[in-house]
């Protein structure tokens, strides 16, 4: 078996007395789209935040392409090929869409201690920005201030920003959150295209989307992994069904 792109070993993170991440282990193979699902409060965002380095785990380890990144600060993880989108849209609201993406490209174009040349006139940064915007279908909205974009467009911009850092692994924290039906469908289609180019860890509540997209699914409940496998295996899993008792239809709808 090849070295997994991402390997998480017995990760633990506590908040006071609550164990938000309880000895979580999982592996993501290169090219895989790995979904993480679980009821509210299962610790999905906490897990993602530890993967990106916004939160430090109390125990366990994270390896990216064989390299231990457990203690590596978040800005350097980005340089190693890890990109994230935020559950609650996190963009530079007073910048244009193109500026947001160009900054992401700039972050991976050497240091930014350039004090004199106009950053908006650096051709390769602008090209990278427009390429990423085109990729997510925002090519025509490049010069619009982010605060003026619709929620759906902002979600797409989140993706463009992540793509502009040319990641090996994309961590998407509920990219469908707050989207309408047509917007969700567009996002699913976009992710279907992107998964051919980059490995993805997807945290998502939209079960239709998860079962349509995922190669493998890990189910978190109260910070623990209760099941991990292909979508078919997860559907059959009794423990998952029990955990989702209230939402049972959500898991079994596709059977």
């Amino acid at each position: 078996m090849p070295e997994p792109l991402l390997r998480v070993d017995s990760l633990v993170r506590r908040f006071g007395g609550i164990v938000a991440t309880d000895r979580v282990s999982l592996e993501v193979a290169p090219g895989e789209l790995h979904a993480i699902i679980g009821p509210n409060g299962a610790g999905k965002t906490t897990l993602i935040s530890q993967l990106t380095g916004q939160l430090m785990p109390h125990a366990g380890s994270i390896h990216l392409a064989g390299r231990d990144i457990t203690g590596v600060p978040s800005y350097r993880r980005s340089a190693l090929g890890l990109a994230r989108s935020f559950q609650i849209t996190s963009l530079l609201l007073d910048f244009s869409a193109a500026d947001n993406v160009a900054l992401a490209a700039q972050a991976h174009d050497g240091h930014s201690f350039h004090f004199w040349t106009n950053a908006r006139k650096v051709p390769h940064l602008r090209r990278a920005a427009h390429a990423a915007l085109d990729r997510v279908g925002l090519g025509g909205r490049a010069d619009v201030l982010v605060s003026r974009l619709s929620h759906g467009e902002q979600r797409e911009l989140e993706l463009a920003v992540a793509l502009a850092t040319r990641p090996q692994l994309l961590l998407l924290d509920e990219p469908m959150a707050g989207l309408g039906i047509t917007e969700s469908a567009r996002m699913v289609k976009l992710l279907q295209e992107l998964r051919r180019e980059v490995s993805i860890v997807l945290v998502e509540h939209d079960m239709d989307a998860v079962f349509a997209l995922a190669d493998r699914i890990t189910v978190l409940v109260y910070g623990r992994v209760i099941a991990s496998g292909t979508p078919a295996e997860i559907r059959q899993n009794e423990e998952v069904k029990r955990a989702y008792l209230g939402d049972q239809h959500a898991v079994t709808r596709h059977v």
């Binding site: 910048f95 972050a107 991976h108 930014s112 908006r120 920003v161």
Partner: protein
């Protein structure tokens, strides 16, 4: 191409032309006082513009910016008192001392955010104030008289009012040009991005603190230059230059003129010092009028005077 005339640019251009032509007016009218007043205004405009770089563009609310006025001033004053009168030595020392001070207090205070950052920068400036008060050899509380202005050989004579005014104006315009280049550069984009959303900037791969720190140092250095000019202007430097109310004045100038706008602090400095001058001729309680004025600007004119101008539409 049609040239778009907007009120902000027009106002900024008008002010700059006015400042350039001011000595002409004063020599024709013999109104020397106006030149003295505007020399002071131009120097404070430079200090306010430097503060705007970190406060307006960088989102770092420094409440200790007057410290650099004092450090720049004392560099000139102390060297002059020790018999080193050359501006070619005094001014670089003033810049270097300010940069070093900014580097040290920046490295410590940039670990904090928000109110804590305001408080810690204030604390450092007050420390500088008390250190200066304790410099018995250099006048202590009473301050230090500078008997001879910085000497630039035969190049320029700072004792000549008009020449000194133009030196100050050149420093201001040069400073504004530098800030303009910086804020549009890659570095400036990063600093403004950090003001807007630090978590996002970290996530796309920017180490926040080192960019902020460099910005902090540039700003402090520029303000140190203003300090060296101010000391030459008054032929005197005292701890009062660093007192916290002075830092507050600088903040008011920036907010009054418009945070994060290039010419805003210049306009703010002119407005603040002119109003102060005019009102103080009428009453010694001028601050009683200044206060409500500022309140109105903050409440109703978001973006300061520059922001108000931005909303003026051409019919």
């Amino acid at each position: 191409m049609k040239v778009r005339l907007d009120a902000r640019k027009a106002a900024a251009a008008l002010v700059v032309v006015g400042l350039l032509l001011l000595p002409l007016y004063t020599s024709l009218s013999g109104n020397v006082f106006a030149l003295t007043l505007f020399t002071r205004i131009v120097i404070f405009a430079l200090a306010a513009a430097s503060l705007n770089l970190i406060m307006g563009y960088g989102g770092m609310m420094s409440f200790g910016h007057a410290a650099y006025l004092g450090i720049g001033g004392y560099s000139v004053g102390i060297l002059a008192a020790e018999g080193i009168g050359s501006g070619f030595i005094q001014w670089p020392v003033a810049l270097l001392a300010s940069a070093l001070f900014a580097l040290v207090i920046g490295a410590l205070s940039l670990r904090t955010r928000g109110v804590y950052f305001i408080m810690i920068t204030l604390a450092f400036a007050q420390m500088a104030y008390y250190v200066a008060s304790g410099l018995a050899r250099y006048g202590g509380d009473d301050g230090l008289t500078i008997y001879k202005r910085s000497d630039f050989g035969g190049l320029i004579n700072l004792s000549n009012r008009v020449q000194f005014y133009y030196v100050c104006l050149a420093c201001l315009l040069g400073g504004l040009y530098l800030i303009w280049r910086i804020v549009n550069s890659r570095f400036g984009m990063v600093v403004q991005g950090l003001r807007s959303n630090e978590a996002r900037m970290q996530a796309i791969g920017f180490p926040a603190t080192r960019y902020r720190l460099v910005c902090f140092v540039i700003s402090g250095t520029l303000c140190g230059l203003a300090g060296a000019l101010l000391a030459n202007n008054t032929d005197f430097v005292s701890p009062a230059a660093m007192y916290w109310t002075r830092s507050g004045d600088l903040m008011v100038m920036v907010i009054l003129g418009g945070m994060g706008s290039l010419f805003g602090p210049m306009i703010g400095a002119i407005a603040f010092l002119l109003v102060e001058e005019l009102l103080s001729q009428v009453t010694e309680y001028w601050a009683l009028i200044m206060g409500p004025l500022l309140l109105l600007i903050v409440l109703f004119g978001r973006g300061g005077i520059d922001g108000l101008l931005g909303r003026v539409r051409r019919a």
